[in-house]
């Protein structure tokens, strides 16, 4: 017996929370994307050759989407679960007839919904500046959804783990942002010197961005199968961590 109403209640609650900052959430990605396009797309991009056979302006679109979605997913999902912990309202969730899996479904579902909306907004904004052709639209959509969910799960873990607002910010700022920036969001790995190319391959984000870019242009830094494997592997690891957290009541129950 699933507590569908409970899942729906949390989902609605979270979406309402996003709704309160709806315009900021909506306008921010539009502005950021436009800025990136003015700087990288027009100013610098116009002086650059094609990268992997793709005009530079179009080339950065998937990376740009991923960069925003990673940070948005992590911050929304981590904040979503951290707030009840911080304010104490988590008592209601813990005392309700709702399972850990249902709770995660609701929180991650809501955060992922928002990320996907933002991803689509960025794509639409990018289309105003450059023509973006999507070679594999269905695979692109699947990648978008799975990556949004995966990073929301990651955010959820951070939100449960964090004991302060500072800790909440640390991982997105110090780990995810640099890894994404260095993960080929704005360049192809083949453009790097050989040593850095090898080092970069240890960056898990490379596989995600490469795979996502492949769904747009049919070319990636690594074979798409490896990217799919990386996404699914990452997803599985996070699920395992979350189940362990709830089994042990890690930082949620005393």
């Amino acid at each position: 017996m699933t507590n569908r109403r409970g899942i729906w209640a949390i989902y609605r609650f979270e979406m309402a929370r996003f709704g309160r900052t709806f315009w900021t959430s909506l306008v921010m990605p539009v502005i950021t994307t436009s800025l990136y396009f003015i700087v990288f797309g027009s100013a610098i991009g116009s002086r650059m050759d094609e990268v992997s056979g793709v005009p530079y302006g179009a080339f950065i679109v998937p990376g740009l989407m991923m960069l925003s979605m990673f940070t948005e997913s992590i911050s929304n999902a981590s904040f979503g679960i951290y707030m009840p912990k911080w304010s104490g309202t988590i008592y209601e969730m813990l005392s309700a007839p709702i399972s850990p899996l249902e709770t995660i479904t609701a929180y991650v579902g809501a955060a992922a919904s928002k990320s996907i909306i933002i991803g689509v907004i960025i794509l639409a904004t990018a289309n105003l500046f450059v023509d973006v052709e999507i070679a594999h639209p269905v695979l692109m959509a699947i990648f978008l959804v799975v990556i949004a969910i995966t990073f929301c799960l990651f955010g959820f873990v951070i939100g449960v783990w964090a004991k302060s607002f500072e800790q909440l910010q640390v991982i997105p700022l110090l780990v995810v942002y640099p890894l994404t920036f260095l993960g080929g969001a704005f360049y192809a790995i083949e453009m790097l010197p050989p040593v850095w190319r090898t080092i970069t391959l240890f960056n898990p984000v490379v596989y995600l961005i490469s795979g996502f870019r492949w769904t747009f242009f049919g070319v990636g830094d690594v074979p798409v199968e490896i990217s799919i494997g990386a996404v699914l592997g990452f997803f599985a690891v996070l699920l395992a961590i979350i189940f362990w957290m709830f089994r042990t009541g890690y930082r949620l129950k005393t």
């Binding site: 017996m1 507590n3 569908r4 109403r5 409970g6 729906w8 209640a9 949390i10 609605r12 609650f13 309402a16 929370r17 309160r20 304010s87 104490g88 309202t89 008592y91 209601e92 969730m93 813990l94 005392s95 309700a96 007839p97 709702i98 009541g249 129950k253 005393t254």
Partner: protein, 318 residues
């Protein structure tokens, strides 16, 4: 709430051998057995740190027990947690609310969270009962402390539970609001809700509870009906207003061990109502014999507070 959930003998909550040792090594509960009867108001009375909140937390699912069993209306609270939890509403001690939510969406959320279908008529009645209806559109952060507590109670009752846990419902609440709260608890009982509340205000337990369980250092010291507890353990105080003030207790009265108060104008003697000889007639006779006169006398039943202090001390001495 359905009629017929009246006070009966069958326990709606049955706690057996419940223990809890926190990760830090602190043992909060040392094997608690406790039954809560359907329809009653039970007060868990104890000093701070006695284990009241831990006990409530375990029954409600916010704290993981180390050992023991809890049956909620016959459902094991860990194996059949959905059935058990859907019968319980919890109002924790801390005022924790979502500041930016409106009262209405907060209670709607809680009802949904507990898996109940939307029922606006029920929620309207609930908010009216708690005099929150006028504030339904207000954001919770705009409400006063007392109102926030009401919102928390409304949230806890939004799924129409059979049992309501109130953890320190009147902590930090002014006298008037406290009276309000007591009235509200009685109203909820009238609706058929079983209520378990924790308090360290004796007055509160005395005023509200049908039964009192005294908990100390993780153990239930005594459980009994409030009145019978007071009768059984009750001591009375005899106060004699003396004609002439005394500077000290006369040696002739030493065997009663009375004490002087009000600058020697009052002689106070405590006695046990259960004892075969209360010592009152003999004391009065002796006073007449030695010529200590009094204008007036009065007796007072000791309050639950005195009983409580007594109990706690007895345990400490033992």
């Amino acid at each position: 709430m359905a009629a017929g959930k009246r006070q009966g003998m069958d326990p709606i909550i049955d706690i057996r051998g419940l223990t809890k040792t926190y990760a830090g090594g602190f043992t909060a509960l040392k094997g608690v057995d406790l039954s809560v009867k359907k329809g009653e108001i039970l007060a868990l009375l104890g000093p701070n740190g006695a284990g009241k909140t831990t006990l409530i937390g375990i029954v409600c699912g916010t704290v993981t027990p180390s050992g023991g069993t809890v049956l909620v209306d016959g459902h094991d609270h860990r194996k059949e947690w959905r059935a058990a939890r859907s019968r319980i509403g919890l109002v924790p001690q801390e005022l924790s609310t979502d500041a930016f939510e409106s009262v209405w969406s907060a209670v709607r959320f809680s009802r949904g969270l507990f898996g109940r279908p939307r029922d606006d008529a029920f929620l309207e009645q609930l908010l009216r009962d708690l005099t929150l209806w006028d504030k339904r559109k207000a954001k919770i952060l705009e409400l006063s402390g007392g109102m926030k507590r009401r919102v928390m109670i409304a949230k806890a009752l939004s799924h129409d539970p059979d049992i309501l846990f109130l953890d320190e419902p009147t902590a930090g609440v002014d006298v008037e609001l406290r009276r309000d709260m007591w009235e509200m608890v009685h109203k909820m009982r009238a609706r058929g809700v079983t209520i378990v509340l924790t308090t360290h205000y004796i007055e509160e337990a005395e005023e509200m509870a049908d039964r009192v369980a005294v908990i100390r250092s993780g153990e239930i010291v005594v459980v009994d009906e409030t009145r019978s507890l007071m009768r059984q353990l009750g001591r009375k105080t005899l106060t004699l207003n003396l004609t002439e003030p005394l500077s000290e207790v006369p040696p002739d009265l030493a065997e009663w061990a009375p004490r002087l108060a009000d600058g020697g104008h009052e002689l106070i003697y405590e006695f046990d109502t259960k004892a075969e000889h209360t010592g009152v007639p003999s004391l009065l006779r002796r006073m007449t014999d030695i010529g200590v006169g009094f204008k007036d006398l009065g007796t007072r039943q000791s309050s639950l507070e005195d009983i409580f202090v007594d109990l706690v001390h007895k345990r400490e001495d033992a």
